[in-house]
């Protein structure tokens, strides 16, 4: 296993920039998730690490070795693809063994390793089947098996769970996390699914339009999003955003929105100007002493909790995550409280986070 380092990596296709100045350090044995909407450059970044694309600029190091100009087969990495990419003309065994065969391993060694990998993944009984005779989950396991038999320096996963049904996805998510712990593997994992990112990643690298927005632990990303994009991308239901102006003085800042004013406790001088205030749905409270009032539009009971969709008089949509027993009725006007210590403030122009 090895440390993977991307330095100022850029990839341009004709006139589109897929990845721009991406720098990322993945520690030995770390599980890092690259997450972002489609077209954010996360898959391209992964393909650059794999060597399937050549970077326009920048360099890639795996285990301290500069592999920027090294072909994929000499990078000592393994990759699991979204569509599994199993060789249809080979059995599961041959699929898993292929990498070892082309590298000239001896038969007994190959057999031992394939059996071991199949054991770990619980597909020992299926090795004689072709991919066409395997279910989605079994194919996925075979694809993972093909990656782990090689005992590579790093694993690359490209949306490996997106073709599985919901139940299986949850199951495989846990299995992959376990596998990571068991192998102590360095993993770079690409997904567009924030739940996968939050649950599996030790660190999450959020990308948008080819640029790295933030890279930090899951809770850090959630609690202290570096900019508006990250705030909006991570979290479901999405964070509530309010446009307004910030007037600062040391110690307390005043946010003036359309429908409310809020004094936010903050050390240091505040930059004045247009700002966006973000508040997570679970931080908002329906209470008599509200910060602003809004009308209930939709109530979604989730069983354990309830999502209340509201609209302010200015048309701003707000979602509140309330206890399951909250009593609200559609079309009712309610007061919503924003706890000042829980809010996030961003510059409206650049989207960057303001304050702590």
């Amino acid at each position: 296993m090895a440390h993977v380092s991307l330095q100022d990596l850029s990839k341009e296709f004709d006139d589109t920039v897929a990845v721009a100045d991406l720098s990322l350090e993945v520690a030995n044995g770390e599980f890092v998730v690259l997450v972002g909407p489609s077209g954010s450059g996360k898959t391209t970044a992964l393909r650059l690490v794999a060597g399937l694309e050549r970077p326009t600029r920048g360099s890639i190091f795996i285990g301290g070795r500069d592999v920027t100009d090294v072909p994929p087969r000499d990078r000592d990495i393994a990759m699991v693809f979204q569509n599994y990419a199993l060789y249809p003309h080979m059995t599961a065994y041959e699929n898993i063994a292929f990498g070892l065969q082309v590298r000239g391993f001896r038969k007994p060694e190959i057999e031992g390793r394939v059996k071991e990998a199949a054991e770990i993944l619980g597909i020992g009984e299926l090795l004689h089947r072709r991919p066409g005779q395997l279910s989605g989950g079994q194919r996925q396991r075979t694809a993972v098996g093909r990656a782990i038999v090689r005992q590579p320096q790093a694993f690359l996963f490209d949306e490996p769970l997106s073709n599985l049904d919901a139940t299986l996805r949850v199951e495989m998510r846990a299995e992959l996390s376990q596998l990571h712990r068991r192998l102590g593997a360095t993993i770079i994992y690409v997904t567009h699914d924030q739940v996968e990112a939050m649950t599996m990643g030790q660190r999450i690298a959020i990308m948008n339009e080819g640029r790295l927005q933030q890279c930090a632990g899951p809770l850090e990303v959630y609690r202290r999003p570096a900019n508006l994009f990250v705030a909006g991308f991570i979290g479901s239901p999405a964070i509530n955003l309010f446009e307004g102006e910030l007037h600062g003085s040391a110690g307390a800042w005043l946010f003036k929105g359309k429908s409310f004013q809020l004094s936010v406790p903050c050390p240091g001088a505040a930059p004045s100007g247009l700002a966006t205030l973000g508040a997570r749905p679970e931080d908002l409270r329906i209470s008599d002493a509200g910060t602003f009032s809004a009308v209930v539009r939709v109530v979604e009971p989730m069983g354990s909790e309830m999502y209340i969709h509201l609209a302010t008089e200015y048309g701003t949509r707000v979602v509140v995550r309330a206890p399951a027993d909250a009593r609200v009725a559609v079309d009712e006007r309610v007061a919503v409280a924003i706890p000042p210590e829980k809010v996030h403030l961003f510059r409206s122009d650049s989207g960057e986070r303001i304050g702590p």
Binding site: G51, R73, I77, N83, P88, H89, G99, G132, Q133
Partner: protein, 299 residues
């Protein structure tokens, strides 16, 4: 993605077709089906009759052929027409020549179609698509136009009336290259990427992943190129002089000259000449159908 998948998909479609057919069993629908079948049967008979006639003539004696009204089934089949016809000219040699020619040309086609098709589909090199279009443009040049320059070239090389002369100019088939390229394009790129990451070099990616997945296309190329070679006439006619170098088709033409009036002999020779194609076709019909689907209508 895999072959079984495609098969099961086909089955699903077939089943869906049947269900649709059953659910719409209105009288109008049945009449329409009946018309289609009638037309298909009529066309089938039109195609079949010349072959049956050939078979029937090959078993008649010289006089029965001219009987009026013509007979479809010979009154007393003359089986001896076959040994007689086949020994009247060096047919064994003709067949050998055709077999040698077909073997080399089919092998050549497979090799060039697979490698060039793969290069045009997957390798990146400057001017690739322009070169490909140039290849395709070649399909528009009538064979006849090239006949004389081709002959002059082969003559200059001293290969007239040799296997070399029969074979070398036929080794590359643009149609096969086109078909293989289209097929390679349909193979998911991820498979090749996976092989590259697994440690395969470009040649291994081609040989161990792309090629085994292209068996249906390869079979189609082999089949069509065999049929084309076996029935080729003009080029072998021009490039061979001696009886000993003639392939079957040219041999039969010569035989026609020698036994001008003996139709049963000629038809017996013809029946034997089409046998290999017929047998091959019966064994590999599905590849023919696949080939037609792959490359549009060739035959």
């Amino acid at each position: 993605m895999s072959t079984p998948d495609v098969k099961s998909l086909d089955r699903v479609f077939a089943a869906a077709g049947q269900v649709g057919g059953r659910s719409g069993t209105s009288a109008r629908r049945r009449t329409a089906d009946g018309l289609v079948y009638a037309l298909a049967i009529a066309l089938g008979i039109t195609m079949l009759v010349p072959f049956l006639w050939m078979l029937s003539t090959s078993l008649m004696d010289e006089f029965e052929v001219f009987h009026f009204p013509p007979r479809l089934v010979p009154a007393d089949p003359v089986w001896s027409n076959y040994p007689n016809a086949l020994t009247a000219a060096p047919f064994a040699r003709f067949f050998l020549n055709s077999a040698v020619m077909s073997l080399f040309i089919v092998t050549g086609h497979l090799f060039t179609a697979a490698t060039a098709g793969y290069a045009f589909a997957r390798l990146r090199f400057p001017g690739r698509d322009k070169v490909f279009i140039l290849f395709l443009a070649n399909l528009m040049v009538p064979v006849i136009v090239l006949l004389i320059p081709r002959f002059l070239l082969v003559n200059a090389l001293g290969w007239v009336d040799t296997y070399m002369g029969l074979i070398v100019t036929e080794l590359v088939g643009v149609w096969g290259i086109f078909l293989m390229r289209q097929y390679f394009l349909s193979i998911p790129r991820e498979l090749e990427d996976a092989a590259r990451i697994d440690g395969a070099g470009e040649w291994q990616v081609f040989w161990k992943v792309a090629l085994p997945l292209s068996k249906p296309a390869l079979a189609t190329v082999a089949l069509f190129s065999f049929v084309e070679t076996w029935k080729s006439f003009l080029w072998p006619l021009i490039v061979t002089r001696s009886m000993a170098m003639r392939p079957v088709e040219v041999g039969i033409a010569a035989f026609h000259g020698l036994y001008f009036s003996n139709w049963p002999y000629q038809m017996a020779a013809a029946v034997v000449a089409v046998m290999p194609i017929l047998v091959l076709f019966l064994l590999t019909q599905r590849y023919f159908v696949r080939g037609i689907q792959l490359a549009g209508l060739k035959y």
